[in-house]
Symmetry: C2
Subunit: 324 residues, 2 copies
């Protein structure tokens, strides 16, 4: 029998710290080649614009394989609907039977993306963050900051969104969870004032440029996950001391790093995977406070696999406890 | 709200003739380039052996896009379990919201595959079929024949399966639905005695060879859908007057035709898509009774899209009628 697990159940079963640790292990397994992760499936639409990603695969030794579908339809917000939706299916690796469906509406994609941002900041952000700059004022801006709270000792935020309305709404939200949030005049000002920068937009042309990035800055870019999306200019990568990507294969095909590669092929050999950074932080993480680091996250199936299996295991544990 | 539609509901909502007609239109749309159908996603496992296909896409103008997952784990039958499982998700093309999940356990994959076999036979089988040869004795052998009943005026079947046990079980099944079924000594005898041949096995080496195929024979090959599966030898394609594939792109990458292409690149220009045959049977279908024709079906997302949307529309109609 297939278990259908709804969003309310999912939220009650989510143990952030456990999932974050599982996702770190997932990144390591991926970078060690201990996974079967094909390139994501993708559909793109115009009028109205939208996209659909299918991320899926198996981590060697896991009892399940996982298929995650997430959509982003940005005109939804005009009708008061969330732009992101989705679901995850969990399959028995021995029989191919459908074990469970997580009706997460894209929630777990938001969470696992924020967790990846948290992991990137843990290994790459400077020791003393004086101001966090956030480009984009949607759901990801909110969750990225919420997940940074526990690991970065800085409440000062400079924010810029697509419209004043959405920026103010995000400012309110972040103020309510304990940040002191100013609104930036422009992205240039934001870049020049902050030493931890998070980009979370669906922009299709670069917003962040090399000359604006000061020594000792870390940038995590989570917006550009395909379909011509592009937030970080090539010169940022060229200028950076540390280039980190979630997947060299995936980031060479789309997202910010792929655009940088087109202009500067030599960047390829300088990019390290987040899994390698987690495994050997002394070799591949930040080693001094003047380094500029940039981490391009296109979203990796191991994140979806780990968060889904974690939820499902908790679900089964609860079921077993109830039946005892 | 996402509708969860179970197998019993699916069976009650399935209108075969309507779906067959919709699938014919789907093949035509595909061959006219009026679809967005990426290459299928794929996972493969060993020990126990299994595979998982993700077929997905959108037909221009449809209100939904569809993602179908189907698995095949062939050791399941030893434990009394079906080898195939699966599900289909249906998404709103305008909002990316998850409209419905069809918990079909792979049933609709069986049905749409059988419908494609029926369509191939309608346009390609000789006028007078004296004996139908079926290689493979699993679920697909059964449904292919059931779907041929309404369009082929022949009850004589020669059958061969992987084991005598499975072959006899299939013989019993087919006898009960009105066929007169003999068991072939070997595939060679089957090929030499039949002028309509259906192959439905997960074989990884060719079973059907050119010299055994007589004038006026049609072969539909549905077994080889990826993961090194291979039923039809290259010389069958070289000898055939008509080579038909469901998708030139897909069949050039895996399945029987891809193996033939490796040995004989000139076959590429001779292959026609089933959608073109349906659209212009006088140009691309059987035009005389001596022709040898071979149709390689790797399974196309348009089939999954059309059958899923048909079921969902019936579901919505029923819901609307109940509320009236």
């Amino acid at each position: 029998m297939t278990e259908i697990i709804n969003l309310e159940q999912i939220k009650s079963l989510l143990e952030i710290n456990e999932v974050a640790s599982a996702i770190e292990h997932g990144f390591i397994s991926y970078s060690q080649g201990k996974t079967q992760i094909p390139m994501p499936g993708n559909l793109g639409f115009n009028n109205p614009q939208g996209d659909c990603h299918i991320k899926y695969g198996h981590i060697h030794g896991d009892p399940y394989f996982v298929i995650k579908t997430a959509t982003g339809f940005y005109a939804n917000s005009k009708m008061g609907r969330a732009s992101g939706h989705g679901m995850i299916s969990i399959w028995c690796r021995k029989t191919g039977m459908l074990e469970a469906i997580l009706l997460d509406n894209g929630y777990l994609t938001d969470i696992r993306t924020a967790i990846a941002g948290q992991i990137a900041a843990r290994y790459l952000a400077p020791k003393h963050v004086h101001k966090i700059g956030v480009v984009g004022a949607g759901m990801q801006a909110r969750v990225q900051l919420e997940f940074l709270k526990s690991i970065i000792d800085c409440n000062e935020v400079l924010l810029i969104g697509n419209s004043m309305e959405s920026t103010k709404a995000c400012q309110n939200y972040l103020s309510n969870v304990g940040f002191t949030v100013s609104i930036a005049k422009n992205v240039k000002e934001l870049c020049q004032s902050c030493n931890l920068i998070i980009t979370t937009t669906p922009s299709v042309s670069p917003l962040i440029f090399g000359p604006d990035i000061a020594k000792g800055t870390h940038i995590t870019a989570v917006g550009a996950d395909g379909n011509n999306k592009h937030e970080i200019h090539e010169e940022v990568f060229s200028k950076a001391d540390l280039i980190v990507v979630d997947s060299v294969e995936q980031c060479s095909q789309y997202g910010d790093f792929s655009y940088a590669l087109k202009l500067n092929k030599q960047l390829q050999s300088r990019a390290k995977e987040l899994g390698s950074v987690i495994e050997q932080p002394q070799s591949f993480g930040r080693t001094n406070q003047d380094q500029i680091s940039v981490c391009d996250l296109t979203g990796l199936a191991v994140q979806d696999i780990k968060i889904a299996i974690s939820i499902y295991q908790k679900f089964l544990d609860k079921l077993a406890n109830r039946q005892r």
